[in-house]
């Protein structure tokens, strides 16, 4: 089913209209995303990118197809401008232009001919290819490491923020309590500090 050039051109146009969004919570659904973006643009289609090989804790990613090219670029600019939070705070989503490789059902590149060959063991290139294969595995390991590292960092940040938030909450609770049980008023009286704006 060699995709015709037109078909592929249409696909590329669709790619340009599409925004890649990640850092999405697993609870985010197509409807949530549509609702979140409806204030800016008309969403045509939302496709979540399945996560087959990465840890499940990886945030979800989605491809959001807009009506026009301008809308896509506008969304990207808007989300980059200010933290855009979907279905939860404070972690914002991230958006960038979609790429062809992100699409699952993409037509074949027209006119491309794939060839293959088995390298002879005697071939001097065999050693090179072998090194590249090792390198590929190394890269994969590195990627996995970095990914795990990043996830850990995210977790750390989340925990830290939670702690911060809790501390803030505790602080506010304390202040609130002091104010509500007249302790503040008594102290003010004691130290003769006006509490007019309390």
């Amino acid at each position: 089913m060699a995709a015709s050039a037109e078909e592929y051109a249409a696909f590329e146009e669709r790619v340009r209209r599409t925004v890649y969004m990640d850092n999405l919570s697993p609870q985010v659904t197509e409807n949530v995303l549509k609702a979140a973006l409806d204030q800016f643009v008309n969403v045509v289609n939302v496709q979540f990118i399945p996560n087959y090989i990465n840890p499940q804790s990886l945030p979800r990613a989605a491809l959001v197809e807009m009506e026009t090219l301008n809308q896509a670029s506008a969304i990207i600019a808007e989300i980059a401008d200010s933290p855009f939070m979907v279905l939860g705070m404070p972690r914002p989503v991230r958006a960038c232009a979609a790429e062809v490789e992100m699409f699952d059902s993409r037509p074949k590149k027209p006119g491309r001919k794939i060839t293959y060959k088995w390298l002879d063991h005697e071939d001097p290139d065999f050693e090179v290819a072998r090194k590249i294969k090792v390198l590929t595995r190394k890269h994969a390991a590195e990627t996995e490491f970095l990914l795990n590292h990043q996830l850990k960092e995210e977790e750390n940040l989340a925990n830290q923020q939670l702690e911060t938030l809790k501390a803030h909450y505790k602080k506010y609770e304390l202040i609130d309590g002091v104010l509500s049980d007249n302790t503040a008023k008594k102290l003010a009286d004691r130290y003769r500090i006006p509490l007019s704006d309390a």
Binding site: S25, Y52, S57, P83, G88, P90, E101, W118, H149, L157
Partner: protein
């Protein structure tokens, strides 16, 4: 196999194609040659996917051998099955047969599982199966075909014997071998090819015959099949079918005759023929009577013969196409022959066409025949006459050397021919001129028989035979005719007997003729076997029984005997050989012949330089037959080759000594000429090459032994090569990744990939491919896997994300089994697969522990309720609050926290960029291609950045 009737309604678009004929008692059955279903045109002998009961399982694969519409408008197809290795893994293991994943085994033999009648709607799609058999009858598939092929096959699985046969008999499970092999013309998928058109016509006719027979309510089809099978594996057939039993009995009787012949031959070289003839006649008559006993069988045989004729024609046409130059030569020769023969222009034409193909096989014979052809021409004419009692004339003509040559050619051409050759040789050696005369007589008888057969069957048949015998143009045709006649003769046997009587009337010629006729029949059968599967099989059964008794019978018997009684025929053959050898001893390769009954065929082959190729073919056939018959057969065949080789060498040496050698040489030289043409042209198949080698060897008389050796080697090489073809990778050669043929819609796995992936992961058949071009699509990955490993799979490209490497595409591939997955991974690890001259593919069994892991929590969304447990907000409120999607305002806490997240994102982005920063520099590696060389990123730096 879905046997349930499927309603025509609510089915995809459908239209019939060419009609082939009608059948059934009331002509209510319409046969078709092609049809269009769901937008795909299917032509007879196409390979198709057939719906599997288990829709999840892989579809069955079969070959369309019959298409018809019943009176109730139900559309039916008969498919001969291909077996996947997995389907017969039990037997493969038992037989220690190694099969590659994309190899199929064609059902052969007789028994359950050979073929089924299914509703046409059970077809799910077209399957591209390429025959990679080295058989020289098989047009070598082009690289493109191989790339496009879903599957390849070169072996068959005998459903009766549960054995693997390495070679194709003339008929494979009732299917003419020419329909088993690749189509002559360009496209596998393209329906009929130009050259094949003729064939197709013939085949149509033959098929129509068969169909009609079948529909007649007789066991005809079975009979035919059995006959055919018998031809190929007469023993098997016999075992299975009562008809086969008839055939077998006939064969046995023939064998007995042959033995008697042999005995007779032994005592008298020149005189032998007469008694033999008489015996043969008696045998023939007996066989005829037997045949008569089973009228159906006769009809079937007739039909078979008819069908065989067209088939042979078709084959011839194919061959012609293959060897246009040869054809021309042959045609010219044939024309010459035709002129004398004048029997039937059409036949001649057919012969011409056939000759080209035959020439390939029979080049030698054709060469011989060239000279002989002129002679043969008369012979043929005489044969034709002989058929009607003109045999005597033929015998006279046959007495001439041409007849001998023809005989020789025939023997060369076919294993049967070999037998004949031996006989002829014997005759020539023993009774010099008489022997020649007798030989001639035999040849004439053969020729007459062939002519008769051809006439009786049809000229096309003759042509086919002739094509087979193109080498021995006139002779072979006549032989073929005889064979056909013999086949038909079941009816014509009387005639034959008469003819023989007439021939016998001509004394030495008579006997010889009889012997030769039997031989000729056998040869014809052989030729048929080699040429038209159907004919051969049919003829083989009868002819083998009859003629083969002498030599072919010996061979066939050997093969058959392996299957059946193994050695009655062999014994007979041996006897025959002995007798012949006795005569041969007198002559050229008599000794050689004597030495090897099987060898005899070989010896014959060797004796006839042409035989070499023919031997290969016969051997191949024999082997195929044996294989089809059973494992033992294989053994026999294996043993035989060596013996044959030895025998051949011996025979060759002998041949060199005797005048027959000269004849052979002459023939060989002729053949060599033809072979040259053949070699140049169509010698795609190794067998051809072998034949060519043989031919060459033959051309060099002295070097016959060497040639034989060479032949042997080539044969081995061919088998190896064929095996290697399937099993081994070809290093350093660049192949195009071809699109995997589209399967039926239902074949697409309906399940969600993730579910399948999890299951596959647990079963160990999930493979992760890395370092692919990121722009590859899933379908392209499937195509790659298909092209490289010949395995079907379900592939899914791992979709790119912001954190995935922009340079390294990954894909998950679900193979059909863990074994396949492991093999593929091992090949990828041990070897080095370069895709598009850029990337070595890395593969590993996917190990994704997280698939079974619990869903980890998403970090970063601080739930408010954790903070304000004391608050009285209802869950609903909270949910509403959470579901608010907004751009955070700078005056909120969330904004501060969100900014922290943004900072983290930026940092990770930078990390990823750094990690993926590969100087995708195209460095020239080696001289041939470029590889993407990554600049190894310094991970330490990344860590620093991250931290």
């Amino acid at each position: 196999m879905a046997s349930a009737e499927i309603e025509n309604s609510c089915k995809p678009e459908f239209s019939w194609g060419k009609k082939r004929g009608v059948g059934g008692k009331k002509k209510e059955v319409q046969f078709y040659e092609s049809f269009t279903y769901d937008g795909v045109e299917y032509v007879l002998y196409d390979c198709v996917y057939m719906q599997n009961k288990d829709r999840q399982a892989e579809p069955y694969i079969g070959k369309l051998v019959k298409i018809w519409k019943n009176s109730d408008n139900s559309k039916k197809i008969k498919v001969q099955w291909f077996f996947r290795p997995s389907e017969i893994s039990y037997w493969l293991e038992k037989l220690s047969v190694v099969a590659s994943e994309n190899e199929l085994f064609l059902a052969s033999g007789d028994g359950k599982g050979l073929a089924n009648v299914n509703p046409l709607e059970a077809i799910v799609g077209k399957c591209f199966v390429v025959c990679v058999s080295r058989d020289d009858r098989n047009p070598e598939p082009s690289e493109e075909q191989l790339r496009n092929a879903d599957y390849v096959f070169y072996r068959s699985f005998d459903v009766g014997q549960c054995s693997i046969l390495d070679k194709m008999n003339d008929k494979v499970g009732g299917l003419e071998v020419r329909f088993v092999f690749n189509r002559q013309e360009n496209g596998i998928d393209t329906g009929p090819i130009l050259g094949s058109k003729v064939k197709e016509k013939d085949s149509r006719i033959s098929e129509a015959y068969e169909e009609t027979l079948q529909h007649l309510g007789q066991q005809p089809h079975e009979v035919l099949e059995s006959i055919k099978e018998d031809g190929n594996h007469s023993h098997l057939v016999a075992k299975e079918d009562a008809e086969a039993g008839y055939l077998l009995s006939k064969v046995e009787t023939f064998n007995g005759h042959a033995e008697s012949f042999l005995d007779h031959l032994k005592p008298r070289v020149g005189k032998r023929s007469a008694p033999l003839v008489d015996q043969l006649n008696g045998e023939v008559t007996s066989s005829i009577s037997q045949k008569n006993n089973s009228a159906d069988a006769n009809a079937a045989t007739k039909q078979v013969s008819d069908s065989v004729l067209p088939a042979s024609k078709g084959v011839a046409g194919e061959r012609l196409e293959c060897d246009p130059p040869n054809l021309d030569d042959k045609s010219s020769k044939r024309e010459k022959l035709d002129d004398p023969v004048k029997l039937t222009k059409s036949k001649e034409k057919i012969n011409i066409e056939q000759l080209t193909p035959k020439q390939v096989d029979l080049k030698k014979s054709s060469l011989v025949s060239v000279e002989e052809k002129t002679k043969l021409g008369p012979r043929k004419d005489t044969v034709g006459l002989d058929k009607r009692g003109k045999l005597i004339k033929d015998s006279n003509v046959l007495d001439e050397r041409p007849s001998k040559k023809l005989k020789v050619q025939e023997s060369v051409k076919l294993s049967e021919d070999k037998d004949k050759n031996y006989l002829e040789k014997d005759n020539s050696t023993t009774s010099g001129s008489k022997a020649e005369g007798s030989l001639a007589a035999g040849s004439s008888a053969e020729g007459t028989g062939k002519a008769i057969l051809a006439q009786s069957l049809s000229r096309p048949v003759k042509d086919t035979k002739f094509s087979e015998d193109s080498g021995a143009l006139g002779d072979r045709p006549s032989k073929k005719l005889k064979v056909q006649e013999s086949v038909k003769l079941f009816e014509d046997k009387d005639k034959n007997s008469l003819d023989r009587a007439t021939t016998s009337g001509s004394n030495a010629k008579g006997p010889l003729f009889a012997g030769s006729s039997t031989e000729a029949i056998g040869r014809a059968k052989l030729a048929q076997n080699s040429n038209g599967p159907e004919k051969d099989t049919k003829f083989n059964e009868e002819p083998k029984a009859l003629e083969y008794q002498p030599l072919k019978k010996v061979k066939d018997k050997e093969s058959k005997s392996v299957k059946l009684s193994e050695d009655k025929s062999k014994n007979n053959l041996e006897k025959v050989n002995i007798t012949t050898s006795g005569s041969n001893e007198k002559g050229f390769g008599a000794g050689g012949v004597i030495e090897d009954k099987r060898k005899a065929t070989v010896a014959q082959n060797s004796a006839l330089m042409d035989d070499g190729p023919s031997k290969e073919k016969p051997n191949g056939k024999v082997n195929e037959l044996n294989k089809t018959i059973a494992g033992p057969d294989k053994i026999h065949t294996k043993e035989e080759p060596g013996e044959k080789m030895e025998k051949l060498s011996k025979s060759s040496s002998k041949l060199d000594k005797g005048p027959p050698t000269e004849m052979c040489e002459l023939k060989l030289s002729e053949n060599s000429n033809d072979s040259v043409g053949l070699e140049n042209g169509p010698s795609m198949v190794k067998p051809n090459a072998k034949t060519n080698l043989l031919m060459k060897n033959r051309s060099g008389k002295g070097p016959l032994e060497e040639k034989l050796d060479e032949k042997i080697r080539p044969n081995k090489g061919s088998t190896k090569s064929s095996n290697a073809f399937v099993d081994d990778k070809i290093y350093g050669k660049i192949f195009d990744v071809t699109q995997r043929p589209e399967k039926g819609k239902w074949f697409k796995s309906p399940g969600i990939f993730l579910e399948r992936m999890v299951v596959a992961h647990d079963e160990g058949k999930l493979v992760l491919l890395q370092n692919l071009d990121p722009s590859f699509t899933s379908a392209e990955v499937e195509d790659i896997v298909w092209s490289v490993f010949k395995e079907t799979c379900t592939a899914k490209v791992v979709q790119g994300t912001a954190i995935s490497s922009p340079f390294c595409g990954r894909a998950l591939v679900i193979f059909n089994s863990a074994e396949v997955a492991e093999r593929a991974v091992k090949e990828l690890i041990d070897g080095c697969l370069i895709i598009s001259n850029q990337r070595p593919v890395v593969g590993c069994i996917a190990n994704l522990p997280h698939l079974r892991g619990k869903l980890s929590t998403f970090h970063g969304h601080v739930s408010v309720d954790e903070v304000d447990k004391n608050k009285t907000q209802t869950r609903k409120d909270k949910r509403d609050a959470k579901s608010s999607c907004h751009s955070s305002q700078p005056n909120s806490v969330a904004y501060d926290l969100g900014t922290e997240w943004c900072l983290l994102q930026k940092r990770s982005n930078f990390s990823w960029q750094k990690l993926h920063k590969q100087g995708p520099t195209q460095e020239k590696i080696g001289k041939v291609y470029r590889l993407l060389v990554y600049k190894i990123s310094d991970f330490a730096i990344v860590l620093v950045i991250v931290d």
